[in-house]
């Protein structure tokens, strides 16, 4: 079509030139003017292809033709889900049987961008338990304003700025290379030892330097509740708030390589439980990571140190993991080593039976069947006090 337009204009140019006596052809200015008109016509024609006649203007936020006069900003909806099969030769506390199929969490994910700099994210998780009950968790609800690359502010409930895994893979097994999360980053209600969620405000940004990218996050949020799985969504037991920061550095010459560190302080309220009362604790968490994500090879190494302190005594625990994977087409074989070393006298962790010293080797392969379906086969060797188990798992994870 554009060629046709060009030919018509050029044809008229040639026609004019032929009609003119020899030696009085179009001047350079006339040729330039005609050329400009051709470009203008072609430009209008391309615009018409992208923006059909009668359609709205290109939306300044969506950057595409506005679909209709719908008064609300469009929402992108994503769903993450999984179906698992698990076999173990030795049961852990709370396990009902040695092999079973299970429906994993159903993760409903919503994201919208009502303006150029505002974005809203919501993540709703439907969790199914062994009593056939369904629990609904608002895992994330974040309103984010991006002022510039170096400063964004987000408020709401999100994943705590602690380590690489927690802020990268979130919920949804489809996003993980492995079947399960590293033990150190297990969620609070799954026997996790770290505060993976927080409700509050955070400022973050990226600063470009000649040596690479430095990313930071400062956060202020409700602190821990009286138990490790208390996420204080609507109030806070004490007036003290959790403060923390995370820094990471991505080298300019090796952008797939990054190192990071994080620090956090919280004042954990005492527990007036008449059976097992506990005094208030100061919690210090420090950790770091080294990652290389230059596919096909991916290496993740992270560690977190947790100190709980009360007058006269302190309790130290440590956890970490090292994971390596290598993508070969649709297949990604992987290995991970998990380590948890828990201070057995720590009064905060003591009531939770799942929080014990653990060493776990996981080896498996992920098969990316399509862009929305993946199948993982994994073998785990779990060593913890009183339990040395072999676990096999097959997971079908979906994203749509």
């Amino acid at each position: 079509m554009s060629i046709a337009v060009s030919l018509i204009v050029l044809g008229s140019l040639i026609g004019t030139a032929v009609a003119e006596p020899v030696g009085t052809g179009p001047t350079a200015e006339e040729v330039a003017e005609l050329r400009r008109r051709i470009e203008e016509l072609e430009g209008k024609q391309i615009d018409a292809e992208v923006q059909p006649a009668g359609a709205n203007e290109i939306d300044p936020v969506l950057h595409r033709v506005a679909p209709s006069d719908w008064p609300f900003p469009p929402v992108t909806i994503g769903v993450l889900a999984s179906v698992d099969y698990l076999f173990t030769d030795q049961l852990a506390d709370g396990d009902g049987d040695s092999n079973h199929f299970s429906v994993g969490d159903l993760d409903l994910f919503l994201v919208s961008q009502p303006s150029d700099r505002f974005s809203i994210l919501g993540e709703l998780l439907l969790e199914f338990d062994s009593n056939n009950d369904t629990r609904t968790d608002a895992e994330r609800l974040l309103i984010k304003y991006e002022y510039a690359d170096w400063l964004s502010v987000a408020v709401g409930r999100g994943h705590t700025a602690i380590g690489y895994w927690n802020r990268t893979f979130h919920h949804g097994t489809f996003l993980w290379t492995t079947v399960s999360r590293p033990l150190i980053f297990e969620f609070e209600d799954e026997g996790g030892i770290l505060p993976m969620h927080s409700v509050g405000i955070e400022a973050s940004g990226i600063v470009e330097t000649p040596k690479g990218l430095i990313a930071y996050t400062f956060m202020l949020s409700n602190g821990r509740g009286r138990n490790p799985d208390d996420i204080q969504l609507t109030d806070d037991v004490n007036d003290s708030k959790r403060v923390g920061f995370e820094l990471s550095w991505r080298l300019s010459g090796l952008p797939d390589f990054a190192v990071g560190l994080n620090f956090m302080y919280d004042d954990i309220p005492g527990d007036p439980d008449p059976v097992a009362p506990r005094r208030k604790l100061d919690e210090y968490i420090g950790g770091g990571y080294v990652i290389y994500t230059g596919r096909p090879l991916e290496i993740l190494v992270e560690g977190q140190y947790i100190r709980h302190h009360q007058p006269g005594s302190g309790y130290n625990s440590f956890g970490g993991y090292a994971q390596a994977s290598y993508k070969m087409g649709e297949w990604t074989p992987y290995y991970r080593f998990d380590l948890l070393e828990i201070d057995g006298d720590d009064p905060f962790y003591m009531p939770v039976s799942e929080i014990v010293d653990t060493r776990q080797h996981s080896v498996g392969v992920r098969f990316d069947w399509t862009s929305f379906l993946t199948v993982k086969f994994e073998y785990q060797r779990v060593n913890s006090p009183g339990r040395n188990a072999n676990v096999s798992a097959v997971q079908t994870a979906l994203r749509f």
Partner: protein
């Protein structure tokens, strides 16, 4: 005899390395030469290199100098521009990994809207209409009114 054998082995090795280099780098080199970046006429940027494109397309640099938000346009699968984006900018093997990268970025709230995938002409039209837009297109298609061609340096 040993010296000759070593020489022959060396020349054989050189030949293999040269062939491998041709196989591995020829398509990327061709894509490098034939693909340019196009930005809106109002964009002040004068030059761009692979590392800067990596910052832009990896979502680390989200604003142009002056504060205008960057709007990424993705090339269509199977084009030279997509080949450049996959192999040289993202340093990945498959273009599918690029779309996965952006999908995962929505889960991290690094972006809320997936970048549009458009052919050269559509990409140019979008860049003409959106001040912060940038696209990678094949050189012969790039010379259009309302946009500026930015050569990609290495």
């Amino acid at each position: 005899m040993t010296v000759e054998s070593n020489r022959s082995r060396r020349s054989w090795c050189r030949g293999v390395f040269a062939a491998l280099a041709l196989i591995l780098f020829a398509p990327a080199a061709s894509a490098d030469l034939d693909v340019v970046a196009v930005v809106n006429k109002g964009n002040a940027i004068q030059k761009i290199n692979i590392q800067e494109l990596r910052l832009l397309y990896s979502l680390y640099r989200r604003s142009w100098e002056g504060g205008v938000r960057v709007v990424l346009v993705l090339p269509e699968d199977g084009t030279l521009a997509m080949s450049l984006l996959t192999s040289r900018i993202f340093r990945r093997r498959e273009s599918r990994e690029i779309t996965d990268y952006y999908r995962n970025a929505t889960f991290q709230q690094r972006i809320a809207i997936l970048p549009q995938t458009l052919g050269d002409r559509g990409a140019i039209a979008l860049v003409r209409n959106i001040p912060g837009a940038i696209a990678l297109v094949e050189r012969p298609q790039a010379a259009e009114p309302g946009v500026r061609i930015i050569e990609i340096s290495h």
